[in-house]
Subunit: 341 residues, 2 copies
DNA sequence: CATGTCTCTGTGAGCGTTCACAGTAGAGAA
DNA sequence: TTCTCTACTGTGAACGCTCACAGAGACATG
């Protein structure tokens, strides 16, 4: 209360000390946990804080401690792509909550343009946050490299493709998710299982294809390259890939598609070709994105554990802020069965 | 470059000064615009900055200047509500861009829960941002009041209903938008124009109804309270209101609905009642939200100038940070004609 | 009694900047 | 010459806080 709305200069720790009849040191101790403070002193300080309306000046504190007690959540790509995605919202909320347990506020930073990236990088390296949770799908992200070089604790969401060794990341187990799906398709009686991969310069593209190959090998099925086509994670790319598949291997009876969005394209290609899903061809997607539910039939797909990913990202970041070395965490995925298989 | 990734202590202005063979003061001057610095000194400093990898410590700077050169964008409600809305994305991007012109980074802060609000309020009042752009639809938002009391420059998006006088805001002209729509309905030959209002404890609810009433008065149409029903901005609320309207005034030939979402409800009520849109009844919405395009038929609606709102919010905020008094800005709306009229 | 230990308190130093001020050198005017 | 003015430079003092340290009591232990 008091002095509300005034432009008057804010009360300092000094004012509180005077008001409480103690020294700066004692006030500071109360502020930082209250160890080694007598009950009487603590009460006096608490009262003085209330009566003066004191709020710590975090700049002064940060200047000396070197910490800012806040964490950034950095998006290095256009916001819309993410904001529309419910999975992203789960991730963001999960991180916020995980940090809340430590009373650390999370700052969302958007750096969609080159110019923004420059500004935000400067802001971060100047020490405004203790660490950064990075979300970006482009793997060779220069921002990550720059922050890493500046010594900023950093945890990426998803496996970065470049200098993987030096930057922490938390990711779902793409390879194992792919294995689960292909195994599932096989178990439901499919024998000519094709796949539409993601771009092979993304971790998801590579690992999901690897999982596919592994399971076929396990099952003793002779690899058939006609059953493999590449997409670009887009709907149209999926459709085109499916058309190529149908031409090269018209006897396919299942397709494992590396993203739900591409799976939508595959569905429409199959529909045009007069194949029924799932009767003639089973479709397995990946991501459990909104596209999975919006499709008809609804897609069987692989869900990534976004809530756990969020928790792990925060855990790893805080560990790194605490001085530990970068580390990687891989989390298991879950197969969601719907109508397309 | 140099010392990449090291935990080594960062170079200070002192190190740069030594390296460049000048004093702290000169380095500081170069950093802050370079006035009163000889070309030779400036070059030496620039070189030293590069060779040492120096980055200003913003905590130290902020401590003395009292400014943080950053601005917060505060959401005091659950993120999802906004993230899904393209209008919100336009607003956010607009603010980011407007601030970019001043090289000010924008920090998005989410405070959906009570706990988060506490944390973020503390963070803000501690001086971490120079001002706050506030987005919240609940009008009696305690956060706004608290920040205002703490003397934090603040600009709300949309007219706050409570202590309006003391807090700046930028809003679209609800009343005038409503007038335009009702006038438009009248000009297209409708004579029994009903309305579904928003809640009357929101500015939108009040002002849009006021606009409706004004135009009818202008046109010399006798007010008929049977043509007015209240909704709650939800789809279901709109549907219920439309049912009441149809019962009370079955001869209506147009409805001005205070939000697109409610208009969707109205559409479905009319559909159930066997009325054709726009043949039998014309529908005018408000907001130009995604609902307007997702409806069938697509809604004629009132668009708010989100890009201009963003620019004005930033302008007003910066003015306030610069010491000016709070002010209000009202911007004109635009009528978007589609198939529902 | 001396000594040690534990809890509590105050004090000085310093974090990395900016700011105000004092001062220097050179150019031009009186 | 001498003075003023301008362009530039260096220096000490903050800013508000935390940290390390020293010291004061209280109490127990040898």
């Amino acid at each position: 209360m008091s002095n509300a709305g005034a432009r008057r200069k804010a009360p300092t720790i000094h004012d509180v000390a005077r008001e409480a009849g103690v020294s700066r040191g004692t006030v500071s101790r109360v502020l930082n946990g209250g160890h080694y403070v007598s009950p009487a002193a603590r009460e006096a300080v608490d009262a003085a804080i209330k009566s003066t309306g004191y709020v710590v000046n975090r700049h002064a504190r940060s200047l000396i401690t070197g910490r800012s007690d806040s964490v950034g959540f950095l998006l290095t790509e256009p916001q819309e792509r993410f904001f529309e995605d419910p999975n992203f919202n789960v991730l963001l909320r999960g991180c916020t909550q995980a940090l809340a347990a430590y009373d650390i506020p999370l700052l969302l930073m958007l750096a969609g343009t080159q110019d923004e990236r420059r500004r935000i990088t400067r802001y971060i390296t100047a020490g405004h946050v203790d660490g950064v949770l990075l979300v970006s799908s482009h793997s060779g992200d220069p921002v990550a490299e720059e922050l890493r070089a500046a010594g900023v604790p950093l945890v990426a969401c998803g496996k970065p493709i470049g200098q993987a060794s030096k930057v922490s990341y938390v990711a779902a187990d793409d390879r194992d998710g792919a294995r689960d799906m292909v195994r599932f398709l096989h178990q439901s009686g499919r024998r000519r299982i094709a796949t539409v991969t993601g771009p092979l310069d993304t971790p998801g593209g590579v690992d999901r294809l690897a999982g596919y190959r592994e399971v076929l090998a396990e099952l003793g099925i002779t690899p058939d390259e006609r059953l493999i086509e590449h997409g670009d994670y887009s709907r149209a790319g999926g459709e085109a890939a499916a058309e190529r598949l149908l031409a090269a291997a018209p006897d396919l009876d299942a397709v494992f598609v590396a993203s739900d969005l591409m799976a939508q394209g595959v569905l429409s290609a199959l529909h045009k070709a007069g194949r029924r899903v799932p009767e003639d061809v089973a479709i397995g997607g990946f991501d459990d994105s909104p596209a999975a539910l919006a499709s008809s039939p609804e897609l069987t797909t692989i869900r990534q554990p976004w809530d756990r990913i969020a928790n792990e990202m925060v855990r790893v970041l805080l560990a790194q802020i605490g001085g530990e070395d970068p580390s990687a965490v891989i989390l298991p995925t879950e197969l969601i069965e719907r109508r397309s298989t």
